[in-house]
């Protein structure tokens, strides 16, 4: 624990941590522990407590949390202190041409308060194979713990990987997470991140396209209320010709909640004829809420097609007036506009992300109601 307390944490002065709540973090308050991790799905491709193999997925320098992560998940590394049989390390590896029809569902539940845990997932898709993985993070509302998850994805030539991360953490749990993906020739990677939970919940998500024709889609839906903060840092790194990336992140904040999005499209000098799109839109639903959006482009070659768009603002007054002029009360009008705002993200989610259930959760959060369902009747009762 003293080792943790002595680590030098980043500060909000650093660009990647700008606007973050890193200054509030006291690592000394946590002891190393583990989540309870369950895996459902085709056992033939799943290994637990396995040796991790995807060390070269990213070329970004590892920060202190990634270093900590590596220490705690490496074989022979520090054993976990709570004595569970595995450390939340899951490796999914397909063989050449293998198609895993049903999604593999991983759930990490953090039961203990005051712990810091390091769930780790590797998805290694061999040539022309296909796999879908859904990873859920859950904790109770009283749980004051820190979750530092890491997912590494490698899609070999023509492989197709779909990954969905769902943050359903309790209101006092912190999340500092990493998603690292590497796309080989003609591969397709789709990542979706849904963030409704947590106190401060941050994901650094990068895709690196190193094979000609590789393509990546990144989607996120986030919605923070109370004093929650959601924080996303994305990288679309094009390092081969004719690569394609498309990112759509949409979020809403209400009450005194905050959100941050910063994203970089990087087109390297060998990535001719690549296309990269980045869109981040944010709705601020109360005067006390706050959202920041910072898109960036770094392009080292000319023959490319890139665009980025970013907006932060309240619900459009004209839209509100239009709906209200049809006899729809303000809270229902607001719900329609917010659902409408999220519709394109929800439509892009894979079925494994259970879009209908997600709509219900968004509706309940909008009403500030975490118990009853959001039917017409309920909303009008």
């Amino acid at each position: 624990m003293s080792v943790l307390a002595d680590l030098v944490l980043p500060t909000a002065e650093q660009e990647l941590w700008r606007y973050s709540r890193i200054g509030e973090l006291d690592l000394g308050a946590y002891s190393v522990g583990a989540s309870t991790t369950t895996v459902l799905g085709d056992e033939s491709v799943v290994s637990r407590d396995a040796q991790l193999m995807l060390s070269d997925v990213t070329v970004e320098p590892a920060d202190v949390f990634e270093q900590l992560h590596a220490q705690h998940t490496a074989p022979g590394g520090q054993p976990d202190t709570v004595g569970t049989t595995h450390r939340g390390v899951v490796r999914i590896g397909t063989t050449r041409g293998q198609v895993i029809a049903d999604p593999i569902l991983i759930t990490h539940h953090v039961h203990d308060t005051g712990i810091m845990c390091f769930p780790s997932l590797e998805i290694d898709a061999a040539e022309n194979s296909e796999v879908t993985v859904v990873e859920r993070f859950q904790s109770d509302d009283q749980c004051r713990s820190l979750v530092v998850p890491m997912v590494k994805i490698r899609a070999a030539q023509s492989a197709r990987v779909t990954y969905v991360a769902i943050n359903e953490l309790g209101a006092n749990t912190w999340l500092i997470g990493y998603q690292r993906a590497l796309g080989g020739r003609d591969s397709t990677i789709s990542t979706s991140t849904i963030a409704l939970g947590g106190d401060y919940a941050r994901i650094r998500a990068g895709v690196r396209l190193i094979g000609q024709g590789a393509s990546a889609k990144q989607v996120a839906l986030y919605f923070a209320d109370g004093t929650q903060m959601h924080d996303f840092r994305t990288l679309q790194d094009h390092a081969a010709p004719r690569t394609h990336s498309d990112l759509l992140f949409k979020g809403a904040v209400k009450d005194h909640a905050k959100s941050v999005y910063t994203g970089l499209i990087k087109i390297r000098d060998n990535a001719d004829k690549s296309e990269a799109f980045q869109t981040n839109r944010n709705l601020t639903l109360s005067s006390g809420s706050w959202a920041e959006s910072v898109p960036n482009l770094e392009i080292e070659t000319n023959d490319v097609k890139c665009s980025h768009a970013s907006t932060v603002g309240p619900i459009d007054d004209e839209q509100r007036f239009y709906l209200e002029s049809r006899g729809i009360r303000p809270e229902i009008a607001e719900r329609l506009v917010v659902f409408g705002f999220f519709a394109d993200v929800i439509n892009r989610l894979p079925a494994a992300a259970q879009p209908d259930a997600l709509r219900d959760k968004v509706g309940r959060k909008l009403l500030g109601d975490t118990t009853s369902a959001t039917s017409n009747a309920g909303a009008r009762a």
Binding site: E318, Y322, G327, I328, R329, A333
Partner: protein
């Protein structure tokens, strides 16, 4: 019988005084046309009636039968029986026409059985492609599709008095004819009362006004029967506003 009564209405758009004492009475089944040049206050009149943010009533009253409309928020004005067909219908990304109507009819406690069938039938009647019913309201719609959608909603929501704010702008003559005829039918079938706000008299070919009022500088400067529109067509606004 429903009566919309506007008395001595003064209103501001932002900080600018636009309406300077409007008096109008619209009864069920009647069609009143308010005509005026640019800047006369036509859009402010429709905004004030429906309670659009940014417009303030500074004097006078608007009542629908015994209901003081001015004290109601917009959505309650609609539930009381008022409706506004907008000059520039707003795009609402991700919200289907059917979704909007579903919520709007739920607010009215209306029978929602076979709603999709009824919307479909109304779409056919107004000449709106049925596929658009499930699409986001007004998003990527042509001018004609927007006004047909407005007219479809009018027919589905069945108000007692409607304000048509320049229904005739931004659409082709076929769409204008279809929309105007549908409103005319509603005045006969359901005794809808209509306040048509317009620059031009061409809409009167299919939607016949019983009364014509000329608006200038925030006041009604002349009122009469349909012949007033003919006179306006002949002499122009200058004859009335000089």
């Amino acid at each position: 019988m429903t009566v919309l009564s506007i008395r001595d209405l003064h209103a501001k758009a932002g900080d600018t005084q636009i309406l300077n004492g409007i008096n109008l009475t619209v009864r069920s089944g009647e069609v009143h046309a308010v005509m005026g040049p640019n800047g006369a206050g036509k859009s402010t009149l429709s905004a004030a009636i429906m309670g659009k943010p940014g417009y303030a009533i500074t004097q006078g009253s608007i009542t629908l039968d015994d209901v003081d409309v001015v004290s109601l928020p917009t959505w309650k004005r609609a539930l009381a029986g008022l409706h506004l067909v907008m000059q520039y219908p707003t795009e609402i990304p991700g919200v289907g026409i059917d979704e909007l109507l579903n919520e709007a009819l739920a607010e009215r406690g209306s029978n929602q059985s076979q709603l999709a069938t009824r919307i479909g039938a109304e779409a056919v009647r107004i000449g709106l492609d049925e596929a658009l019913i499930h699409r986001a309201v007004n998003v990527d719609f042509s001018g004609g599709e927007k006004k047909r959608n407005e007219t479809l909603q009018l027919a589905m929501l069945d108000p007692r008095i409607v304000v048509l704010d320049e229904l005739d702008s931004g659409l082709d003559i076929d769409a204008l004819r279809d929309c105007a005829r549908r409103v005319e039918d509603l005045t006969n079938e359901r005794k809808l009362g209509v306040l048509v706000i317009t620059h031009y008299s061409r809409i009167f070919a299919d939607l016949k006004p019983n009364f014509v009022h000329i608006l200038s500088k925030g006041r009604i400067v002349a009122s009469g029967g349909p012949e007033l529109a003919d006179q306006l067509e002949r002499d122009g606004y200058d004859a009335f506003t000089a």
